[in-house]
């Protein structure tokens, strides 16, 4: 019989272990899937906490202890000779369960005496008087016969202890004398002990699981809460409080009312929850704006294993940064469209003018006008070409297909050539341009690409400097074995925040002030070129209107 009890308990344990294992694998698989599934999974977790809590509660207190004790009592018959088997359980602090199974007919007095023995025994263990004032008493089995004159001559009391807690006491009694010795008491004791150990193990598994789930929930950045059909908040994590910016009174839990209030005017959460429960369909509310935050709400109806409606779980996902990125991308696209169409418009309209001038065969063609139109077309085409090239370069860099034609060069020569090209432009803006460089600096590089970086950084320096000077400095850093080119200007400078974003695709310097044209793609391309060379490009600036210095470095040839 002992094995059968253990088998029963083992199956229970096995079930839990399987449940835990299965859910774990499920969770790992879910990790790989999309966000929608992630939120569904979170809701499952919330639900499971509930279920586990309930199972735990049930096993820990009345139901299963009862069941276990019943199994113990019902299996005792084959092991021991007895008239009654009785148990006394603490149902809750105020009441007790007294159950007696009568195997052979005994009088009421017999049972009263057993009860007294048990009360004495349990009072002794507890160290205080235990009474049966609120006891739920039940007597089952054979009919009692008060004509009999039997008394409990032999009996054994065994305490039931689960997780160091005294849950009750079991008594086996018989009218025969000298029936129970040590060995019988031992049998009874080991059965209850085994059962108690198994239940304790189950409980610790549940506790661990509960703890793990709770800590996962606690540390999550998404807000998660579960609310039942009576608007009672069952579970929530700290992220709910943070995301909804709820004010919490120390030591007090938030209520569903707080949550509904926080979202008032943005979402009618109560109606949405009712809708989700009614249709038994998840509802996603995207873009709920709370102050400077954008949230996405997913409401999922929850049912228990019997299919009964239990409430809903709600996941709050912060989409503020995603929205900001999306906005940046939209702005970038809009700017690209504008920048691509502008030169095309110029070409189109200049050709219109050209055609018009030429169409009038009788009139003497105005050479100045013709020349202006042609010059405009030429300039617009060059602008367009530069832009298209930058876009293609960015695409190549992003695809990792940026190829270099590397040869041995004197970097100073490449830099000097570029500086010469810009001399006229610098003079036109009344700026001064200086070049400081050693005579020779051998590097292995793609000359066209390095010239492109120089072109980009120098033209930027000129573009963003209205007065003062531009200084180009080539130096050799022996320690790090690299060549560094610095282009220093006295122009508009860069703010600290912009410094970080200068080389990012979606950020054009001074995107708010478009007084200076450009897509900002040049810096993105320059970064790609230098990285392909095993070098770097970076910028420094003391702040707005304090000038800036752009650097690029290349490994020296060994």
């Amino acid at each position: 019989m002992i094995p059968s009890i253990l088998l029963f308990l083992d199956f229970g344990l096995l079930g839990i272990v399987f449940f835990v294992y299965f859910r774990r694998t499920l969770r790992e698989r879910n990790k790989l899937q999309g966000q929608a599934e992630q939120s569904v999974q979170l809701q499952q977790q919330v639900y499971q906490i509930q279920v586990l809590q309930e199972i735990g509660e049930r096993i820990g207190y009345s139901l299963d202890t009862n069941k276990i004790v019943e199994i113990i009592t019902s299996s005792i018959g084959t092991l021991l000779d007895y008239d009654t088997v009785t148990y006394l359980l603490f149902a809750d602090p105020e009441s007790m369960i007294f159950k007696c199974h009568v195997h052979n007919s005994v009088p009421h007095r017999f049972i009263d005496e057993v009860k007294n023995q048990m009360l004495q025994s349990i009072s002794a263990i507890c160290g205080q008087e235990v009474n049966l004032a609120n006891a739920d008493e039940r007597i089952t089995g054979t009919i009692l016969d008060d004509h009999l004159n039997s008394r409990p001559e032999s009996y054994v009391n065994v305490p039931i202890i689960i997780s160091d807690q005294l849950l009750g006491i079991i008594n086996v009694a018989s009218s025969k004398k000298y029936l129970y010795g040590n060995s019988q008491a031992q049998v009874l004791y080991s059965i209850t002990n085994q059962a108690a150990t198994a239940v304790t193990k189950l409980e610790s598994v549940l506790e661990n699981e509960k703890g793990r789930l709770a800590s996962t929930l606690y540390s999550m950045t998404d807000g998660v809460f579960m609310v039942d059909l009576h608007n009672q908040l069952q579970v929530y994590n700290p992220a709910v409080v943070d995301l909804l910016q709820l004010r919490v009174v120390r030591g007090k839990d938030i209520t569903m009312f707080d949550i509904i209030n926080a979202l008032a005017g943005k979402v009618d959460l109560r109606t949405k929850i009712e809708e989700a429960v009614e249709k038994h369909m998840p509802i996603v509310i995207s873009e709920v704006y709370l102050r400077d935050q954008a949230l996405e709400l997913t409401i999922t109806p929850v049912r228990d294993q019997q299919g009964e409606k239990r409430g809903v779980s709600v996941v709050l996902h912060d989409i503020t940064s995603e929205k900001a990125l999306e906005k940046l991308r939209q702005e970038f696209t809009a700017m690209m469209v504008h920048e691509l169409r502008a030169p095309l418009t110029a070409v189109r309209w200049s050709s219109d003018a050209l055609l018009k001038t030429l169409a009038d065969v009788k009139a003497k063609p105005d050479n100045a006008k013709l020349k202006e139109s042609m010059a405009n077309i030429s300039t617009a085409t060059i602008n367009m070409l530069e832009l298209v090239n930058d876009l293609l370069d960015v695409a190549k860099i992003e695809a990792g297909k940026f190829e270099l034609n590397e040869q041995d060069y004197n970097l100073v020569e490449i830099v000097t050539d570029q500086v010469k090209i810009f001399e006229a432009q610098v003079a036109q803006k009344h700026l001064t341009l200086a070049l400081i460089a050693p005579p020779n600096c051998r590097v292995k590089c793609d000359k066209v690409r390095i010239s492109q970086v120089m072109d980009n950084l120098l033209s930027n320096a000129i573009k963003y400097t209205d007065s003062g000077s531009i200084e180009v400095n080539v130096s050799i850093e022996a320690q790090s074995n690299r060549a560094v080119v610095a282009i220093k200007d006295t122009g508009v400078g860069v703010t600290r925040e912009d410094l970080n974003q200068l080389f990012s695709k979606f950020k054009q310097l001074s995107s708010s002030d478009r007084s200076r044209k450009g897509t900002g793609l040049g810096l993105v391309v320059s970064k790609g070129i230098m990285e392909a060379h095993g070098g770097r490009v970076w910028a420094e600036s003391a702040g707005e209107n304090l000038g800036s210095t752009f650097y690029f470095s290349l490994p020296l040839e060994k």
Binding site: A334, V337, T345, D513, K517
Partner: protein
Amino acid sequence: MPKIILAEDDQLISASLVSAFTDAGFEAHPAYDGEQALAIAKEIHPDVMVLDIMMPKLDGISTLWELKASPELATIPVLMLTNMSDADTISKIMEAGCTDYLLKSDQSIDQVVTKVKEVMERGKRPV
């Protein structure tokens, strides 16, 4: 001779516009940003204005708001001339109160001149 302000930051496009409107019999005043366009408008009280959207200092939409907020300039008919074709921008410029808009690269320069004349006529009629 009708007076027109051509607010356009792109030098090449501006040159084409000025040349075409001068040929069409307008007194053309180029402006290279929104602030400049407003300043010239206050000075010369043009018969019609053409505004680009993406401009430095003050963009076309903000310039339009400023015009509509000023009692003396609010009645000037305005043609928005832009390369921004997204629905959001278009609804924004219509809300701001422009008389009409054109997508730049869709039009020949003659079409732009024709449209401006039409916008100017529409502005003269009491609505």
